[in-house]
Symmetry: C2
Subunit: 456 residues, 2 copies
């Protein structure tokens, strides 16, 4: 039931029409509402518990008391803007700086990942004096005018590809042009970016930036092949552009072994701009852009102020600091390594049992399990993925899909997800997929799905 909460476009705007109509629409589909949440668990109006496998924003767990306490204490003292001096912003910038390579030492605080990515674009363009952007196929970088232009996931359905935007192939070694059997897919995919730059140059265009999530999410929980980022950065720098790492979904220790997902690519790779957001405030609207002194200096050289009314206010920074404290105190990165590793092993075991499971990939608590119609063609099993999500919902497990064909079951739970949670979800998936095998033998799989009732 809860998954009817994944409101589709049409109902989404209706929701905001005056109460009478929105209520009618709301509850006619589904009367279940989530009333409260704690840790990795959601509770509906009857107190029924659901396991949450997807709320990456509520990074240290839903409604963590330390975060609420820090917010309330600071709200009672001062909730002004950054035109008044305050220690919190400096303390917070310093804490963030400690997680990043030294050269990323200037921080701009904003209110959302979209605001962060828009500012990153402005920084890149002002520093390089170039306009064009290279993005990965299927990428989504935010809901703002400037970001829809660089989000193939969106612009393909809207106004189309703008002249200054160049789309590089997604380095997906399961579905892409170079696969797991390639000797050096990192080099091969990086070469596609290099070629794109050369083509752009032939047309007289100039590259401001390569803009990519450090682990493409909407693209299908993709893990970059070894060496990819470093080689892309080399080509982009050679073209006078900068490397922007969008860590909005992937930062703050989700990958476990490192604080930032770009760090998986090794110490010899460092982006020029890093954007962060979703998990940063555990639900509170806060986001940030980290960059180098050179880029920040170029941005401010014209004497035009960047001011953000709410960005970096004492409450947002107090919350940000409290989130960092909990990540450390509760060893949530260690937990991501342990629980994520165990979950991935369990899913890999399912892969050996169930032909539907084509691929299992991920690091820490960022995991994707891709369903395929068959393992040779790798044809995405979109309907099966939707049905699995729906069946898991009946088992009170909240999960969803991603990827170009919505065939990837994605896991990005609150970081307090436990070994028991991992075993519960994998056991449920095992049973559901096992049941399908029986179903498949007795009747048409297609026929058994009441699709008109699925609201994903």
């Amino acid at each position: 039931c809860i998954l009817s909460a994944y409101i589709m476009n049409e109902t989404y705007s209706l929701l905001f029409k005056r109460l009478e109509s929105s209520c009618r629409l709301f509850f006619s589909h589904d009367p279940v509402k989530i009333m409260r949440a704690r840790g990795q668990y959601l509770y509906d109006e009857n107190g029924m518990q659901y396991l949450d496998c997807i709320s990456n924003v509520q990074h240290v767990g839903h409604c963590h008391p330390s975060i609420t306490q820090a917010a309330a204490a600071q709200m009672d003292l001062l909730y002004s803007n950054t035109r008044f001096l305050h220690d919190n912003i400096v303390l917070y910038a310093n804490r963030l700086a400690a997680t990043l390579p030294k050269k990323l030492c200037v921080f701009y605080f904003v209110n959302s990942g979209s605001e962060a990515n828009d500012l990153a674009l402005r920084l890149a363009r002002q520093y390089t004096r170039h306009q064009d952007v290279i993005v990965l196929d299927y990428a989504y970088h935010g809901h703002l005018t400037s970001l829809i232009d660089i989000s193939p996931y969106k612009f393909r359905k809207l106004e189309g590809q703008k002249e200054g935007v160049h789309v590089a192939p997604l380095p997906d070694t399961y579905h892409g042009i170079y696969r797991e059997d390639h000797l050096d897919p990192g080099q091969a995919y990086a070469d596609t970016v290099k070629s794109l730059i050369e083509e752009a140059h032939k047309k007289g265009r100039k590259i401001s930036s390569f803009f990519a999530e450090s682990l493409p999410s909407v693209g299908g929980q993709i893990i970059f092949p070894t060496g990819y980022c470093k080689r892309v950065a080399e080509s982009v720098h050679e073209a006078g552009g900068v490397y922007v790492a969008d860590e909005i979904q992937t930062g703050f220790g989700r990958v476990g072994s490192h604080f930032w997902a770009f760090q998986l690519q090794g110490e010899d790779f460092c982006p020029d701009i890093v954007t962060m957001g979703k998990p940063m405030g555990n639900g509170h609207p806060i986001a940030c852009v980290a960059t180098t002194e050179e880029i920040a200096d170029a941005f401010t050289a014209n004497g035009v102020e960047y001011f953000n009314t709410f960005g970096g206010n004492p409450v947002s920074c107090a919350i940000g600091l409290a989130v960092l404290d909990v990540i450390e105190k509760e060893d949530l990165r260690g937990n991501a390594v342990r629980v994520g590793g165990h979950l991935k092993q369990l899913l890999l075991q399912l892969q050996t049992k169930h032909p539907l499971v084509g691929d299992v990939r991920g690091v820490g608590l960022f995991i994707g399990m891709e369903l395929v119609k068959d393992r040779v063609s790798r044809k995405p099993a979109t309907e099966e993925a939707a049905h699995l999500v729906r069946r898991l919902k009946e088992e009170r497990i909240v999960i969803s899909t991603d990827g170009p064909w919505d065939s990837v079951i994605k896991f990005k739970p609150p970081m307090c997800f436990s070994i028991e949670d991992a075993e519960r979800v994998s056991t449920c998936i095992d049973q559901i997929l096992g049941g399908w095998l029986t179903l498949k033998n007795t009747s048409s799989l297609q026929h058994s799905f009441p699709f008109d009732e699925i609201y994903i």
Copy 2:
């Protein structure tokens, strides 16, 4: 001292460099920091109290306990996103709808005024299928790429005016092309917009929207002449465009007599899109776009979802609801009428005494007092305004300037500003301006200003 907190551009980015350097820069200029605030008062680290005349974001008063309580209670229950159903968003939309004309019945919740204005642009462009925008001179609509393009206040210092942007004269009857002696300045200024549209049409361009603050703020606390908006809306509609009222600084009862500043233009005027922000969450990052069903339907007709991670979450909406409750319970609109009216009268009395005071204008607690070198040329008294701000700071009154020449002393205090506060600030201004007359007679006014110490 506190006003060194109005950090200029260069120091703003330095601030975010690692602690060592940012601290050095910070406290070398000025060791005073604001540690807490309550109502209309700010307190520094020594407990010294300052009267706050400018924090319009902290609308119902700094750190109002009702707001903190509402936030903490909801943070303890649920701080999820709008992909889960929740009552708060529906309750809040309904409460906002009650303040607006009936046709504005669809609400999109976002995190900042900038996000709201960007979405308004997207709505206008998608609905009209036109691209061009008419804006008022000196306008500022936000820090995003798309908004700098339509903000003359910014783009004049940056990349310049883009082709699809048309700048109409600011309907300023004190400095503008039609003044207080004109028989119908509302019509005359509206005609300038009409002419702009005709010129654009001659070039084959099409107008998506007229985009204006309902009371231009950065433009100098301007009050539109009677009939202006209605006539502009007629021309814009005729051209197939929509009227966007930016109420980010002016909404939520600041003008006292009405909930929205556009309502000052009469009941026969209604914008097609209204954006709101700053005061909405009393400091918390929340903003909103209200529009008509027709525009919302056109926006969603292509089946592309608008999703905003933090926008409309249960905590933001709980805070928004609490702000509305306080506005009503404490009759803050009535207070704006009473105190704002009294303050304006006091400032008008100063105008009769001090030649420097060229104009006093405003409604409710949105007031501007413009300083001029002399009343015939109306030459802006920029340095005198900066000095007045600095002197008031010494009297522990926090105020600032606005307008194209920073010659307008602006009042937009928390809405709990009292009669006593109004009398205190006007008495201080009276004494400071009185002292200057003496100064002027004995030595050069210019000479008496240590400008290099002013950080505004």
